[in-house]
């Protein structure tokens, strides 16, 4: 069924179709509509879930993890400060191997207060061990939401799906909303092997001394490694059921590209237009949409980017004191390859400033033109 919905509501529909059982969330702009619609679903009985209207995001995540460890499919949504407040619990979710699914609406961090989009909130959580998937469209948001539960429950890692504030969250697009039966076929009920159970009295997450901690951490990393294949497999399966698939990354007209632009989130859609334009002009440019950020799809990134002569990366984020985070990741992926392409790093659109086709074009042109980047990090559009 096609419906015109916002990105936020796409999340809510996805969660409903995934039959989440426990939802705990706290409102924050621009995430509020996600929980508002879910509240309605719960209130009307369209979704049979317990919605815990917690007093903070920290509690939201704590509740979700606990619920998940107890055998319930758990979901939350947040943004920026909410995500930052959860930080401790984000670690916990991973350490507890709970397949919690969370939507994070990418929003800039204060101060000064900003509700507009950038990626610093989610990227600041890069190392906590969550699977991170950056979405480009409302359809992808819905589909990723459904996929996320399946991925998470297969590998026992929490999954964060990420969408840009307003540009997606509050923008309506036609979305194909699958039937419940179809989704049920794709996504079996959550079935955790060892969960809190009075008939199997164990302690979960207790004190772990150096003689065992390392092994358990190793297993988390191993799960991440395995997750790549699982995500791919589930994506393909999703296609079989629903006819759509997104890949770990999405190369666009990269085949013979001399310059490949790497983007994430909604900037990708804009970039796609620019690439088409430039291709029409006969320029050998391609686009790589970085979708699954964690675990890092190292092999496929290398496979695609290795063939280009230059790579430019757009980051709507900044790791202060270093630079763009995606660029950093790409560099590290390419590191060690003989004659790997140079990586041009551009930071743009922080705090929700518009990223126009012109901006993107100029970035590509610059990369094309300049033998080496003038700076390790190039700030695009900063008026200083």
């Amino acid at each position: 069924m096609k419906k015109v919905v916002t990105g936020n509501h796409a999340v809510s529909y996805g969660v409903k179709l995934a039959r989440a059982q426990v939802i705990a969330a706290y409102p924050i702009t621009p995430q509020t509509q996600v929980v508002e619609l879910l509240s309605e679903f719960c209130a009307s009985g369209k979704l049979n879930a317990k919605f815990i209207k917690v007093e903070s995001e920290h509690s939201a995540m704590a509740a979700c993890i606990a619920a998940s460890a107890s055998g319930a499919r758990a979901f939350t949504a947040t943004s920026a400060h909410g995500l930052a407040l959860m930080h401790e619990m984000l670690h916990w979710a991973v350490g507890a191997r709970t397949p919690v699914v969370m939507a994070n609406i990418n929003r800039a961090m204060g101060p000064g207060w900003s509700v507009w989009t950038d990626q610093n909130d989610s990227l600041a959580q890069r190392d906590v061990g969550w699977i991170q998937i950056y979405c480009e469209s409302n359809q992808e948001v819905l589909d990723t939401t459904i996929q996320a539960f399946k991925i998470a429950e297969r590998v026992l890692l929490p999954v964060m799906l990420i969408l840009d504030a307003f540009v997606l969250s509050h923008t309506s697009e036609p979305v194909d909303i699958p039937d419940q039966e179809q989704v049920d076929e794709f996504l079996p009920p959550y079935n955790l092997k060892t969960k809190l159970d009075v008939n199997n009295p164990r302690a979960y997450g207790g004190l772990t001394n150096p003689d065992h901690y390392f092994e358990l951490r190793y297993k988390i990393q191993k799960a991440h490694t395995e997750a790549l294949a699982v995500i791919k497999e589930i994506d393909e399966e999703y296609k079989k059921h629903f006819g759509r698939q997104y890949g770990l990354v999405e190369p666009y007209r990269c085949d013979d590209a001399k310059v490949i632009l790497v983007t994430s989130g909604t900037i990708t859609s804009t970039a796609r237009l620019v690439i088409d334009e430039m291709r029409d002009e006969g320029r050998k440019v391609g686009l790589l949409k970085y979708r699954v950020f964690r675990p890092t799809p190292r092999e496929i990134l290398r496979d695609i980017l290795y063939r280009a002569q230059k790579v430019c990366v757009i980051d709507r984020n900044i790791s202060f004191g270093h630079g763009g985070i995606f660029a950093q990741e790409i560099k590290s992926v390419l590191y060690g390859l003989p004659a790997s392409p140079p990586v041009y790093s551009f930071i743009i659109g922080l705090g929700g400033r518009d990223v126009t086709p012109k901006d993107i074009r100029e970035i590509i042109e610059y990369t094309y033109k300049e033998e080496t980047p003038a700076e390790p990090v190039i700030y695009r559009g900063v008026r200083l």
Binding site: E215, Y218, K219
Partner: protein
């Protein structure tokens, strides 16, 4: 069962990746941690001796029978007592209950009325427990068959009765030789009926008869029989003839008409005869005989006055008896001593010249010696003088080869004399003492003859009130037993103290702290943070695999039935073994 006997625990193998759970999910229990190794002190269950039991001449296990009683297990209570003392109905009445002087409750509110509880249980047992049960009980206690012995006992006082009881219970042949026509010694001829009704004594004696004890009355040692005769006929001879020799006043005229021996006077009254008494009766002495003689005289409608040469503090008589006596209206004159009996021409008493005394330095007995005050003599008019200044053991009736002390027959703790197979017990060994001490000696001799261990106190440690955790007790006044009213006592030999009813005795037993003796209150079990107190059925044990030695159990034990011992000591001890 200790934890590691109940559960087997192994540390899981965690070598391969697949050995590990997904996250830190426990796989086994902390039973793997022998936290007992942290300990430096360990608690040990160790019943200790309550001061009451310690002070009791027969070491009755007072807290234990109190405990049985309050649970309605009176038969168990009775058998607990008679392990130490076969005649609780008697001692419950006449024992001066030194136990109560030491009872820890006296420093908390009021002493436990132990004798009344004992008496209640004793009366119940006398009525309810058959001879068959007595035999069965002791048969259960004595392991294996013993050769049956023939024992002669001289004297049927409490000492002899006790020895007879324990021996007869076990099926030995016991013959008691008694000089008097009736049995019971001073229980019959000394202690008046208002304190010990004859019916009680008769019943006890009757039970001895049913137990098979053979009594020969009217047979006197030294007259009708001799020690060597008995030694020939019997395997063992127990001498228990008491201390009955009257001490004369030792003043001029002390053999005048109208001067009576206290013991004789009481014996006459107690055997139903009416001794000749004048109107005004003086009793000389400060002991129990004096007090009883005065009270008997009062009941014979005389106006007795007691003269005692020291002060109240030095009176050997039991204070309770003294106060009872004064309550009944008898006057005691202190610090006066007889100088001379004043007689008329017929040689009959008409008065007594006395001298006033004061207290000087302590004498050999530790009491302050009375010294006459010069020129303080005066005369008290009277018709009868009853002397009660102490009885002595008649040592003339026993052979020379039997060793003696300056006051009686020499015998050891267990009653053995210097002569083979000859034991001596009771007042004839100790000089005039008490019924319960006589019983203790009787039991010890019987046990020794039967080659059995005598009953023991729980431990050398005597529990003080400061050892108790008083938080678990609440104040409760002593239960008072009923007494015959003063008016009803007039001219009557009816029993004065009426004892407890069932409810009263249970109520009083509930007051017992059970000093030093575990009564399964559960505190140690309840309060152990380490689950190291194992309670199986009604038994407690410490699981040293896990006891960290915090000491909470010992501290919260209301009655110090747990001792903390330094652990290294124990380890050393083990290494010695």
């Amino acid at each position: 069962m200790k934890w590691l006997e109940k559960y087997k625990v192994d540390l899981p193998n965690l070598n391969k990746e697949s050995d590990y759970p997904e996250w830190a999910i426990s796989m086994t229990s902390t039973l793997l941690n022998r936290t007992g190794s942290w300990r430096t002190f360990r608690p040990v269950y160790e019943n200790k001796t309550p001061p009451c039991s310690y002070r009791c001449p027969v070491h009755e296990k007072i807290p234990i029978y109190c405990d049985y009683l309050k649970r309605g297990m009176i038969k168990e209570a009775y058998f607990t007592i008679i392990e130490n003392n076969p005649f609780p109905a008697i001692t419950g009445r006449v024992c001066y209950h030194p136990c109560e002087l030491e009872c820890n409750r006296k420093d908390y509110d009021e002493t436990l009325s132990i004798h009344n509880i004992e008496r209640y249980i004793g009366d119940w047992g006398l009525k309810q427990v058959s001879v068959k049960e007595l035999r069965k009980q002791s048969a259960e206690k004595s392991k294996g068959s013993q050769q049956k012995l023939k024992i002669a006992i001289i004297g049927s006082g409490p000492a002899g009765m006790t020895a007879a009881f324990y021996l007869a219970c076990e099926g030995h042949t016991v013959t008691v030789y008694e000089r008097q026509a009736k049995l019971g010694g001073l229980l019959r001829y000394g202690i008046p009926a208002y304190r010990l009704p004859k019916k009680i004594l008769d019943n006890e004696i009757n039970r001895l008869k049913l137990l098979g004890v053979n009594f020969q009355t009217g047979v006197s040692l030294g007259k009708d029989i001799t020690l060597s005769m008995l030694k020939e006929k019997f395997d063992y001879v127990i001498i228990a003839y008491g201390a009955h020799k009257n001490r004369a006043l030792g003043v001029p005229g002390d053999d005048a008409i109208g001067v009576l021996s206290g013991l004789e006077f009481l014996a006459q009254v107690n055997s139903g005869r009416k001794p000749k008494l004048g109107k005004r009766v003086l009793i000389i002495g400060g002991g129990n005989t004096a007090i009883d003689a005065a009270r008997v005289a009062l009941r014979l409608k005389r106006k007795p006055v007691i003269l005692y040469r020291r002060s109240r503090n030095e009176m050997p008589a039991n204070p309770q008896e003294v106060s009872d006596c004064e309550k009944e209206g008898i006057k005691i004159e202190f610090l006066v001593a007889p100088v001379k009996v004043v007689t008329n021409k017929k040689g009959k008493v008409v008065g007594l010249e006395v001298v006033k005394m004061k207290l000087g330095k302590p004498d050999a007995s530790g009491r302050r010696a009375p010294v006459p005050i010069p020129n303080s003599n005066y005369i008290i008019n009277c018709d009868t003088i009853i002397t009660a200044i102490g009885e002595q053991v008649d040592l003339s009736i026993i052979p020379d080869e039997l060793e003696k002390t300056s006051w009686g027959i020499a015998a050891g703790e267990d009653g053995q004399t210097n002569l083979d197979r000859v034991y001596a017990i009771g007042d004839c060994v100790s000089g005039p003492k008490t019924v319960t001490e006589a019983i203790a000696m009787g039991r010890k001799a019987a046990m020794n003859i039967m080659n059995k261990n005598d009953v023991q106190v729980f431990s050398p440690y005597i529990v003080k009130i400061s050892d108790l955790n008083l938080s678990y007790f609440s104040h409760q006044p002593q239960t008072k037993a009923k007494e015959l009213s003063l008016s009803a006592r007039k001219g009557s030999f009816k029993e004065i103290h009426l004892g407890f009813s069932e409810n009263e005795s249970i109520k009083e037993a509930e007051r017992c702290f059970s000093c030093g003796v575990c009564n399964k209150c559960d505190n140690c079990y309840v309060f152990c943070p380490d689950l190291a107190v194992i309670r199986d059925n009604y038994e407690y044990e410490i699981d040293y695999d896990f006891c960290k030695g915090c000491g909470v159990c010992a501290y919260e034990c209301p009655r110090k039935a747990i001792t903390m011992i330094e652990d290294s000591q124990i380890i050393e001890d083990n290494s010695k073994e």
